[in-house]
């Protein structure tokens, strides 16, 4: 009897979980129909299952999760971009920028030519001279943006200007780890 109970026990448990094969299911159902004690054991399992779920639900209901997700998000590290994505974006940006440069350059040359050539030929008036200055200004801007980035102390980060307010003074330096730091402190 004990051996049969030991054999049936796990099967009964699995039957309650809906995890038996159809053949095993029918076997257990036949036993349940014939053995009231077995049916009571199944009732015990279902009651325990229900009570356990309710007790843990009750515990969870007492917890305030309103800020939980935000707390997790705050602990995430800053996002990094994969190398492949960076390479792709670099070429996209370079190509886009190069297209823009070419377009700017071509348009500027054309505009300058429209105004300057006749000017050089000597048949242009005041209005044309002003237009030439405008065009040259644009051309200079295009030239500046087309050049390499201004030389920097730190190739990844450069400080272009610093102003402090109130009683603060600023120290600008690179740490031994290579990081650019803008450190402010109150003047005593």
């Amino acid at each position: 009897m004990t051996n049969e109970r030991e054999e049936i026990g796990p099967l009964l448990s699995a039957y309650g979980d809906g995890e038996l094969s159809p053949v095993e299911q029918r076997r257990i159902e036949a036993l349940l129909a014939a053995d009231p004690e077995l049916a009571q054991r199944l009732d015990d399992q279902l009651a325990l299952s229900s009570a356990l779920v309710k007790s843990l639900d009750a515990e969870v209901d007492e917890i305030d999760f309103s800020g939980f997700a935000d707390e997790v998000m705050a602990k995430l590290p800053p996002p990094t971009v994969s190398l492949a994505s960076r390479i792709r974006t670099f070429f996209e940006n370079a190509f886009e920028f190069r297209k823009l440069q070419v377009a700017l350059g071509a348009a500027t040359v054309a505009a300058v030519a429209v105004v300057t050539v006749p000017y050089l030929r000597g048949d242009v008036g005041e209005g044309d001279r002003i237009a030439a200055l405008v065009m040259n200004g644009q051309g200079q801007e295009a030239d500046r943006t087309a050049s390499a980035a201004p030389p920097a102390l730190d190739p990844s980060a450069s400080v272009l200007s610093v102003e402090t307010a109130g009683d603060y003074e600023t120290m600008l330096f690179k740490t031994s780890a290579g990081t650019t730091i803008i450190y402010v402190r109150e003047v005593q």
């Binding site: 590290p77 006749p118 980035a149 730190d154 400080v159 272009l160 990081t179 650019t180 803008i182």
Partner: protein, 148 residues
Amino acid sequence: MTQLLRLFAAVSLLAVILPAQALAAPKATVAIDIVQASKEPGENDPRVAKFRSQFADFNYKSFKLVASRLITVDEKKATTVDLAGGHKLNVTFTKAEPNGRARLKLSVPGVLDTTVSLKRDGSVLVGGPALPSGNGVLFIPVTLVEVK
């Protein structure tokens, strides 16, 4: 008449060039971490470990990560991040620079106004705004994630 036509042609070309620049409308994504540093010894926040080498030159003994923010700013626009201790950080994406760099203006009103140029993944550390309690200062690593 001929001069007017030439002027008109030049202005028309300008009208084509300038909108072409505006079409790109880049955005800069910037990661901002807010770290409280104290001269009192204490438990170190493990999330600050990645910044420790940057703080090594200072005399602060314990660090706590108050918050991490990821902001996206349009070119020529600004956004504000609340720091601790009543301070705020205004971040202006001044302009997109070549090779994915960004020029950013960082200001802590009443304290500091600085313009930096960062390349992708480049960062500067703004440090020093004191906490009202007097127990420490803020360090704010600012990292350019990308310009799109």
